[in-house]
Amino acid sequence: MLRVYLDHAATTPMLPAAIEAMQRELVRVGNASSLHGSGRAARRVVEESREAIAGCVGARPAEVIFTSGGTESDNLAVKGSFWSTRAADPRRRRIVVSTIEHHAVLDSAGWLAQAEGAVVDWLDVDEQGMIHPAQLTRLGGDDVATVSVMWANNEVGAVQPVQQVAAWARLVGARSHSDAVQAVGRIPVDFAASGLDLLTFTAHKLGGPYGVGALLARREVALTSVSHGGGQERDIRSGTFNVAAIAGFAAAVQQATANQAAESARLRGLRRRLLGGISAAVPDAVPNGPADEENALPGVVNVSFPGCDADAALMLLDAAGIDSSTGSACTAGVSQGSHVLVAMGRSDAVARSSLRFSLGHSSSQADVDSLLAALPEAVRRARLAGTLAR
């Protein structure tokens, strides 16, 4: 069965250009840190990739630190900047994060609080999932080490005012980080213009391979290393360069950012069709996220179906060949209501009735129409399941 893939916020199909770039490198030998000809050839690919990626996101090549992906970049940004900032000024031990961050940020901050004496301040969101930077002025500031606010939320697509967060951090002398995993390639992202100190993104969310990502770090930002060894990447992130993956990453970033404006317009059209179709098919469905599409990612649709058991709906859509998501983390498969929707003021019951459909470069109108055809019956049955106590 040909599947309808509506989970681009989880991962994306690889772009042909990225596959070609990887295939070119996979057949070659050479450690990019070696001094011989094979090593230099590999290093050249790494550095050309670095330059290409930097150019696509408004960064300088020296600001690109290659990592294994979003989780590692988030950990390095939050922990590394907390440690280095506190080392320079022991009063700075506060971390400011929004309540809708990815767990890679939330749990890094939580771990620092539990193991390293950090104090976490939370930035609330409104019912549309938006952070209001005015909250920051309530915080003192001269004891803040790091503030981390995601560029765009993975579950409801809310695009956050990260420039204002960065400006506040600069004012109070704290480091600013943004997890832009969902943003790069989907909306314009310019690191220099953002004023941020640190920015996370990853290849597989924009048509590249798994296992490679980057942390952008302004040159003057000191980060305490999480992994020690060969001294690669400014001595911050040691480890042999993953040359083929980095080449695939660069190819994907180039294509995704070059096509971004046209692709956004196309996806917004599909998104409108999907939202309109859902409200026609399931009239009491309630969309979650920014009401103004200018504040939303072009491809993310999150909807609550009152009384519906979203886990059951996901399973029924799956059986109909449609890949969707309940949008949240699960441990051992035991799902919990999305922490993002709960932070937006939804009840646990509403959170558990919500599905996320995320469109991307492989999505077509036929995909949207397939979902709209299968959705009413899936929701009807999942509502039956929802009436049963669990």
Partner: protein, 357 residues
């Protein structure tokens, strides 16, 4: 049929699901998460819902090529099985949580959810034989007498059995393991699970003490004379001999057994083995796998999971059964089920309320 296969991560449910696939059913695998805070790994033969078990179930589903999900039933399990287990002990009874889980979780909560989602039946790795005919479904003891689980399934009604599939009812455990091996299922050599899955260390008395606290009271003999102390009547089971720590020795020096537990007076009564003998049982809340019995009925009864069937006469009243055993039997505890058999066929089940000598 569209069949939902409950997959614990053990060998039985994996082979059961495989046989359901072979039978041509459209099978979906589901692992039931019954604990809010699952352990990462199995410990010995206990536990049935660690993350490792969930991963084993997923890998079995992969091998079978069927979709797989984890269903979170931890709230229902905590309320209907664990809390009930504690409450029953607190009331001086001896519950059977596996039976309760079948009654309230696997063939109720899971089955209802499955039906709501468009499934026709639930498939499990239980050892009991289902025979379908125009008259409905009859349940028989399994071909493997050692593994027979008809006792803990006796509580299922005709409607539940009509939507149940037990592909292993005719198999021997040894055959199931060999079949798992031959099918390339990695769980082929996984140890059988025993004991109560939600008491990971096997210490039931300790578990009950943590839940119910301690309540010191007297251990008395049949005449009411105090012979020892206990720290909570909920820690005892009818017929128990070990762990009584009696201060006053028996006059005749013979071992003594728990005869009665009275939570109201927090008293545990002990006495000689022959005082455990029971010849009549009153049981309530009967359920029937088919037609209910009426009036006087003669057949076989089984009063605990690993007991043997005993000839008995049963007098059926509205919501109560009176069971008269042909020969007295020992250690029959209120809270356990009395399951009625016609030869190997399960007729029904009821919960023991009290016993008479």
């Amino acid at each position: 049929m569209k069949v939902l296969a409950a997959m614990s991560g053990g060998v039985d449910s994996a082979v059961a699901a495989a046989r359901a696939v072979d039978a041509g059913h459209d099978v979906t695998g589901v692992h039931l998460a019954l604990s809010k805070n699952p352990q990462s790994f199995r410990s010995g033969a206990r536990g049935c819902c660690s993350k490792e078990d969930a991963a084993d179930a997923r890998r079995a589903a992969d091998v079978l090529g069927i979709p797989f999900y984890v269903w979170d039933l931890s709230d229902r399990f905590a309320a209907d099985v664990v809390d009930n287990f504690v409450a029953e002990y607190a009331a001086g009874r001896t519950p059977n949580p596996c039976l309760r889980c079948n009654e309230k979780i696997k063939f109720a909560a899971v089955l209802e959810r499955a039906v709501a989602l468009g499934f026709d039946a639930v498939c499990t790795g239980h050892y009991a034989r289902l025979v379908r005919s125009d008259n409905g479904v009859a349940m028989y003891r399994s071909a493997d007498a050692e593994k027979d689980q008809s006792y803990v399934l006796g509580v299922l009604t005709a409607a539940q059995l009509a939507r149940s599939v037990f592909p292993l009812g005719g198999a021997l455990k040894s055959e199931v393991r060999a079949e798992a091996e031959q099918r390339g299922l990695l769980v082929a050599n996984k140890p059988d699970s025993h004991d109560i899955c939600f008491i990971a260390d096997g210490d039931t008395a300790g578990f009950l003490s943590r839940r119910l606290g301690s309540a010191p009271g007297d251990i008395v003999d049949a005449d009411g004379a105090k012979v020892g102390d206990h720290s909570g009547s909920h820690q005892f089971t009818i017929g128990q001999r070990r762990g009584l720590r009696l201060g006053v020795p028996a006059v005749d020096g013979r071992p003594r057994y728990v005869l009665d537990i009275s939570p109201v007076t927090n008293t545990v009564t002990v006495g000689p083995q022959e005082a455990l003998d029971v010849s009549s049982i009153v049981a309530g809340a009967p359920t029937w796998t088919g037609e209910p019995i009426t009036g006087s009925w003669t057949g076989l009864v089984q009063v605990r999971a690993h007991g043997s069937a005993m000839p008995a006469r049963v007098l059926a009243a509205a919501d109560q059964l009176e069971v008269i055993l042909e020969a007295p039997a020992a250690g029959i505890a209120p809270g356990q089920a009395v399951v009625l058999y016609e030869d190997d066929r399960v007729v029904g089940s009821a919960t023991i309320i009290r016993t008479g000598s």
